[in-house]
Symmetry: C2
């Protein structure tokens, strides 16, 4: 039996176009003699549809589209489509009004509907907000082959692999007992660094443990902050990868179930990426491409400071959209070094993008004059620094408004964590491209990008980072060295370590205390940040839900109380 | 038996201070001969703690504080404290690592712990993200009185009252079968307009149905976007309100359980508010007060345009913080009418607040000159309008940064819905005070405020609303009349009506279509808005989770497909 995986890139809520993509995949799969076609989780509405699910008209439209799709599909193929289904008994039995479902479409109609059993409600996932869990093991029979059906999280609870349970049940175990021939999994699993190796290791463990071939179909594409990496794959009973689709691209791949040996045959296996940098680079390109396209834009604008962050974002944007669609703006002040302008122009030349130079001196002076009386007898400080950043943010938004270019913001994760950025200034933009990339990784990406020749000018990588908002300023006037800062941040944000644990790992208490306080105090800035492309397990954004007006660790006394020394 | 309700205002995460508040309430309650003290849900850490719960050190600190509090409490009173407890079996049985719990403290230690059974996971609530539901009916016995213990949502599933079930179980029914004498409910129930009457009607229904007196202790205070209104109350078996604490203030009230007749006696019953406007006014004052205070500020700054929105926000801020702590900034341009300046100054005089005037002409010219070449041969339009708004936003932030005043933003819900506001301009601020108040209600609040004499100058209420960003501009050039707009928005946002239903209710299809598209397209602005004080069932903010890069209803064809005409 030939099974096709359609690794699709839906647009959230665009039911007609998403249905069309499924239809086209089915036609191609039919031409390639597939008997069964898999599509990703919620392939009809795109994942995550979020609060669109609260509109009854949206749910109704999804169902109408599903019925129409069933009629439109070729007649000799079974298609599994991800969709939402009403929980018709909810008002009587209690429970959420919807299921996250898979519809088996064949012969012009919906043959059977399966419901997702394990509903992720952590990080960026809110499935308990919308969905009721399915209670039954899901399977169906096609030409005497018994096929177990699971949806994404359903396969993420192998307590042997994890060393703990996250949910009371393990749907694979149920299906193994029922004796299915193989298990399909329709997923929308967002990208994080190295997640593919993790997925394969996890499902390989389950395949061997339960002696079940597994075919895993993942969504691809960027949806706001989330990048879905695709890389759908299949495992045989030995847990070997027998098929792997491309990363960060739509794909249609074929898997063959050998009905004699009751296992999957080896087919196309795309290679892993050479290094994390290559993988991140591809992820960010897709994230930019899809956000820009799905929001209805074709061109972007960004400020080029001659620093490493804006240089990397410009390179990503150029790779994503083409050099003719990227516009760089240099906005020097009296605090900008000559180097900065030369470096930014050299970068633009390397990328082949258009630039303009808009000096901000005159506008700075106009603000100074306007505020002169009010600010009389005060020192130059944060207020004046921020005005410069906000002038630049205003100029960029003016260009965005005037020409219809989407503004990309260029702040990195280290800055966003400690608030070393200006709200309504350099934080401005429709998308924060590297908001989940720590500064040390920004450098690593630039060095990787230069591996075959200079793209990011060398001087940008070798000079000390600076905001250039006052004379001779460098980042390390205000922050610990980035190697130190990024490691502390990783422990604090990703690993949920307490300040006491971080100090115990060898860092200076005063440094840790300062960083922890900066992170807490920057919450109000992060709340107003644009969506940032997520590449780690814990990004600021939809999966980061912190109170602003709180007092945990922001007060020294409280902090000290929990540093056991 | 005397039962005291401590209607407390905790600061999220501030464990020592929150414990101190509980201790003080217990001392006062003891002085008043109470045998039992109730505090709100999660009274030890404040509600909602959100992702602070993901830090193991935070959970540990909560437990240490709870144990210490138990030791510190007076010896002759039982105290119910809201806290989090580890779900120690989670890794074996599956499930979330925490419970949302009530600890019964008495005689120096924790006597018993009860777990919340119904976990709200909708709107602003994310409890399934953190908590595992309790499985047992919760009760304890104090001096031979059997007391049922419930937490907030536990009482929100009376299927007779609602006409449907939201959860499979109803904890009151379980407690009634067990034959408790009365039920206590520890809540953190956020304010929305008229919610108190709803709560009382709902619990009155349950009190009568199950013949159970109910004592309901609610949190008070503002925590970011949420305003908790207090108004703790008690119902006897007849469903009559026998006690009601004050609204929007901390309070300690006593309820008396008559052990002869096994019912509650009537005690202090605070009156309801006279009208919705009075209630909203009190809510917004508390929201501003607490956000400013809990973020560590004492003073605020805001722009005064001479329009109705900024006038109302200035009045709220003055009532919340005192006239000496509110600074108004007038920033006229060549498009500002003389009226605007006079109106703003008249308002400031009525309120007694200080102002300054910062004309923005010079800065506008500096931007124009800087952009002259780039914008050559283009028409004056949105880009130029937004520059004015962003200049004002930058000036206000400069004042905020320079003097440490928190900037209040003044946009209303109608604007936020359709995007009739400038990102990084008038949207700037730490708190959006009236972001959940529709424009028509802004007028109603101003008229109510003027009931005993002019506070908002009459001319502000009678002139047509205008952004004054180009000559002779009025809002209704771009928007339907606010009565029409607000009703369409109410149907769309609050009532989840489809465009087809809205058209069917009598509105012009072109108008509905335009409004629906504006709402969809403004999503990117709302994502970057400051927290806005929530007063309705569906506010933009933490309970509004819409995709940005989506295509539902934003496309005419799709939209038409679902307008059945």
């Amino acid at each position: 039996m030939k099974i096709a995986i359609a690794q699709l890139n839906p647009t959230i809520g665009d039911l007609p176009k998403n249905a069309e993509k499924i239809l086209q995949a089915a036609q191609q799969a039919t031409a390639e003699k597939a008997r069964l076609l898999l599509t990703p989780e919620l392939s009809l509405c795109g994942y995550p549809p979020r609060d669109l699910l609260l509109n009854p008209a949206f749910v109704e439209a999804t169902n109408i589209t599903l019925q129409q799709l069933a009629r439109d599909l070729p007649s000799n193929i079974a298609v599994l489509v991800g969709t939402v289904q009403e929980n018709t008994k909810a008002s009587i039995t209690g429970g959420k009004p919807l299921f996250n479902s898979i519809a088996w479409l064949e012969a012009g109609k919906v043959q059977q509907v399966f419901h997702k059993r394990l509903l992720p409600t952590y990080d960026v996932f809110d499935e308990r907000r919308y969905f009721e869990p399915g209670l039954q093991a899901n399977y169906f029979t096609l030409d005497k082959v018994h096929i177990g059906v699971t949806v994404c999280e359903d396969l993420w609870n192998d307590e042997e692999f994890w060393g703990r349970r996250s949910y009371a049940i393990n749907p694979i175990a149920d299906l193994a007992i029922l004796g299915v021939d193989f298990i399909v999994n329709l997923s929308a699993s967002p990208y994080t660094v190295n997640k593919q190796r993790f997925r394969e290791a996890m499902l390989s463990h389950s395949a061997v443990r339960f002696q079940q071939p597994i075919i895993y179909a993942n969504q691809v594409g960027g949806n706001d902050d989330l990048i879905f990496d695709g890389r759908s794959f299949a495992l045989n009973k030995q847990g070997e990868v027998v098929c792997r689709a491309q990363g960060f691209k739509t794909d249609l791949v074929m898997v063959d179930f050998d009905e004699e040996v009751r296992d999957l045959r080896t087919s196309f296996v795309a290679p892993h990426y050479e290094c994390e940098e290559e993988e991140i680079w591809q992820a960010l390109i897709l994230g930019v491409q899809d956000y820009v396209r799905k929001c209805g834009f074709s061109r972007v604008v960004l400020g080029l400071s001659g620093g490493v962050d804006s240089s990397l974002v410009a390179a990503i944007a150029t790779a994503a959209l083409g050099k003719e669609n990227v516009f760089g703006v240099l906005m020097p002040s009296c605090y900008s070094s000559k180097d900065s302008i030369q470096d930014a122009l050299a970068l633009a030349a390397n990328l082949g993008i258009k630039t303009t130079i808009l000096p901000i001196e005159n506008i700075m002076q106009a603000y100074d004059q306007t505020l002169a009386d009010l600010f009389a007898n005060t020192e130059f400080g944060l207020a004046e620094e921020n005005i410069q950043s906000r002038i630049r943010g205003t100029l960029l938004m003016a260009i965005s408004n005037k020409f219809g270019y989407l503004l990309l913001s260029t702040g990195n994760k280290s800055e966003m964590a400690v608030g070393y950025c200006t709200l309504y200034g350099d934080m401005n933009g429709g998308l924060a491209v590297i908001a989940d990339v720590p500064k040390t990784r920004v450098y690593a990406l630039c060095r990787w990008l230069n591996r075959n020749g200079e793209i990011i000018p060398q001087n940008i990588l070798s000079k000390p980072p600076s905001a250039e908002l006052r004379p001779n300023q460098v980042d390390q006037d205000s922050l610990p060295p980035y190697e130190v800062l990024d490691d502390i941040l990783q422990r604090l944000i990703q690993n949920h370590q307490s300040p006491a644990e971080i100090v115990a790992s060898g860092y200076d208490r005063a440094v840790v205390e300062k960083v922890v306080q900066m992170v807490a105090r920057a919450e109000f800035k992060r709340r107003q940040a644009p969506p940032g492309l997520k590449i780690t397990d814990r990004a600021f954004g939809t999966g980061w839900r912190m109170p602003i007006a709180s007092n945990w660790l922001a007060v020294k006394d409280t902090f000290r109380g929990f540093v056991k020394s």
